[in-house]
């Protein structure tokens, strides 16, 4: 059974049909790409999957169960995490605190326990901190744990967003243009990081990316959308040769 399945997912913003009858399925542990020209509807697909918008029609199944129309925090808790195209870190928090935020949904300490701070509170807080530090170490961010998130250089902020998403312990990770603004060296590092994340965290990854080198190098299958409609799906080699894709990318001028 596919981990994530979109069945005729459609969303309309007023008169604009941003995503139309989109169907694709991502398998457990798969590295899946979603590409298309600017404004094709890729970020909108992320927003539908994560519950920021509800599809106007169609269905989204996660692990066989419908998730469309559910609240974003419920979807996050069920195992879908994401990063944002325009970085959305908690800027006044430290690097460590950013990663710690998602521990809240797993915490068993209520309001009163958090005010009175018994031994159980401290045990849990310490465990969450240690776990977060281990995660930061995997991203070479552990030495910067106490720095303000906003003080990090751009590439590190992108990595911190991925680390923060992984801290929710997802089964599916959505990455929205993680290579944006990176130089070739950083992009190459990112490709290695993405593969490593899939292997170490046993997650499926849905990658939206304009950097074709990254998409083609990392993804096992790719879905192409143009004007909200799926026009092609297949392995990178097939996509590269697809006439419709070439037309969409090279233009019809």
């Amino acid at each position: 059974m596919a981990l994530l399945r979109l069945q005729n997912a459609t969303i309309r913003f007023g008169g604009l049909l941003a995503v139309k009858d989109l169907c694709f399925a991502i398998e457990e542990g798969e590295l899946f790409g979603l590409i298309g020209p600017n404004g094709a509807g890729k970020t909108t697909v992320f927003n539908m999957i994560t519950g920021v918008y509800s599809p106007t029609s169609g269905a989204i199944l996660f692990d066989g169960k419908p998730i469309h129309g559910k609240a974003p925090h419920v979807i996050a808790a069920s195992g879908i995490a994401r990063t944002f195209q325009n970085i959305r870190l908690f800027t006044s928090m430290s690097v460590l605190e950013n990663v710690l935020v998602s521990a809240h949904m797993r915490s068993s300490q209520g309001v009163l326990a958090s005010v009175f701070r018994g031994p159980a509170f401290h045990r849990e807080e310490t465990a969450h901190r240690e776990e977060a530090m281990r995660l930061l170490a995997l991203f070479q961010l552990d030495k910067l744990a106490d720095e303000a998130a906003s003080s990090l250089p751009y590439g590190s902020q992108r990595r911190l967003e991925i680390a923060r998403a992984l801290a929710t312990k997802p089964r599916l990770l959505l990455l929205d243009e993680p290579a944006a603004g990176m130089n070739p060296q950083e992009a190459a590092d990112l490709m290695r990081l993405i593969r490593r994340i899939r292997d170490e965290f046993k997650v499926s990854i849905l990658l939206v990316e304009h950097n074709m080198k990254v998409v083609m190098g990392v993804c096992e299958r790719i879905q192409v959308v143009v004007h909200g409609e799926g026009i092609a799906m297949g392995a990178p080699a097939e996509i590269r040769k697809d006439a419709k894709v070439i037309e969409a990318y090279l233009g019809r001028e």
Partner: protein, 349 residues
């Protein structure tokens, strides 16, 4: 370790106040009259109001401008309990000495005020915090005015004449116990996963949701805790002044509390305390300018927004900054770099 530090700092703050009272007041000015004692009490009440509002406005980032409304609900609720049910409560605990009976009445009044304002907070918070945007500001503004008009028309609490005959049950001890409670509650929540959830909501709601945080639930939670403490402050206020009038709970009072936290620094507990003390003491020092109060507040707010938008103390906790400075000095002596060099070279965007 941190916990011990926090307890110690709270205790030493209380100790300092205690010292202040005995040396400054009991030995000196208090013999000149209860004037200074009253300022101390009002400062305490304002600290509770400012620190509690700061949880909603500063920490969770939701703008409430009706704190005085909850202050009023608590004050009138508690006063009604001790005025109407006081004798019955005393009868029930007649075996206690008089001071014990007083405490029993006050505690019940306090509980009633907390319950009533928590409920009011839920009723106001749930519908307005579910929506995106600044609905809370509009709704709380309306709430404050509606409550005032409502009280004016309830004869059992004195209506326009004011509510008199409230027993004097509150004093320095109770007020500063509540001050310690509100500082401990907000401070400890701030340093727990709740605090991180509140700040995450303030910083970026979409990202907070993506981290599994039920945004509406946490906004309402912060708002209800805020309202509850405002209500308890109202209880201690009424049982100190022994008289309540709706004039003490107008929009001007709400505005005053907002200025307290804006002056001290939105989101900072120490800042809220400082702001509350300043706005209690300064108007007393400039009594002659009473009628210009609102103008002066507005000017002060504008000046602060322009020259120091983060408030006098700013966001970061004073203790935290002090700790960081000490760590820096230690590492400078030991020649250990405080921070590792950044891993990445570029900083585009």
């Amino acid at each position: 370790m941190k916990r011990i530090f926090f307890v110690l700092s709270t205790l030493s703050l209380l100790g300092l106040l205690q010292w202040g009272v005995t040396t400054l007041l009991l030995d000196g000015p208090i013999r000149q009259g209860p004037y200074y004692y009253q300022i101390l009490i009002l400062a305490g009440i304002n600290i509770v109001l400012a620190v509690s509002l700061n949880l909603t406005n500063g920490i969770a980032g939701q703008f409430s401008i009706g704190h005085a409304g909850f202050f009023a609900v608590g004050a009138y609720m508690a006063a009604s309990v001790s005025y109407y049910a006081g004798p019955a409560i005393r009868g029930l605990v007649g075996f206690l000495p008089l001071a014990g009976q007083d405490a029993a009445v006050l505690l019940l009044a306090l509980a009633a005020a907390a319950l009533a304002t928590a409920l009011a907070g839920l009723l106001v918070g749930i519908p307005s915090l579910r929506l995106r945007g600044d609905y809370l500001a509009i709704v709380t503004l309306g709430f404050g005015e509606i409550i005032r008009v409502l009280i004016l028309n309830i004869d059992a609490v004195g209506g326009a004449r004011g509510f008199s005959g409230i027993p004097k049950l509150s004093n320095f001890f109770w007020v500063y116990l509540l001050v310690a409670a509100v500082i401990a509650t907000v401070g400890n929540l701030l340093r727990s996963s709740y605090g991180r959830a509140f700040i995450a909501i303030r910083e970026n709601e979409i990202a907070a949701q993506a981290m599994g945080i039920d945004v509406t639930r946490h906004k309402v939670l912060a708002f209800v805790i805020s309202s509850m403490f405002a209500g308890m402050a109202g209880c201690l206020f009424g049982h100190y002044t022994m008289y309540l009038h709706t004039n003490s709970f107008t929009f001007v009072k709400s505005f005053e509390i907002i200025i307290m936290i804006a002056i001290g620094g939105l989101g900072s507990i120490e800042g809220a305390v400082l702001g509350a003390v300043l706005l209690t003491v300064l108007p007393e020092a400039f009594r002659g300018f009473e009628s210009y109060r609102m103008i002066i507040y507005s000017l002060a707010l504008i000046l602060i927004m322009i020259y120091r938008p983060q408030g006098i103390l700013g966001q970061a906790s004073v203790l935290k900054r002090l700790g960081a400075r000490m760590a820096a000095r230690r590492s400078a002596q030991g020649n250990v770099p405080v921070t590792a060099p950044a891993a990445d070279g570029g900083n585009g965007g």
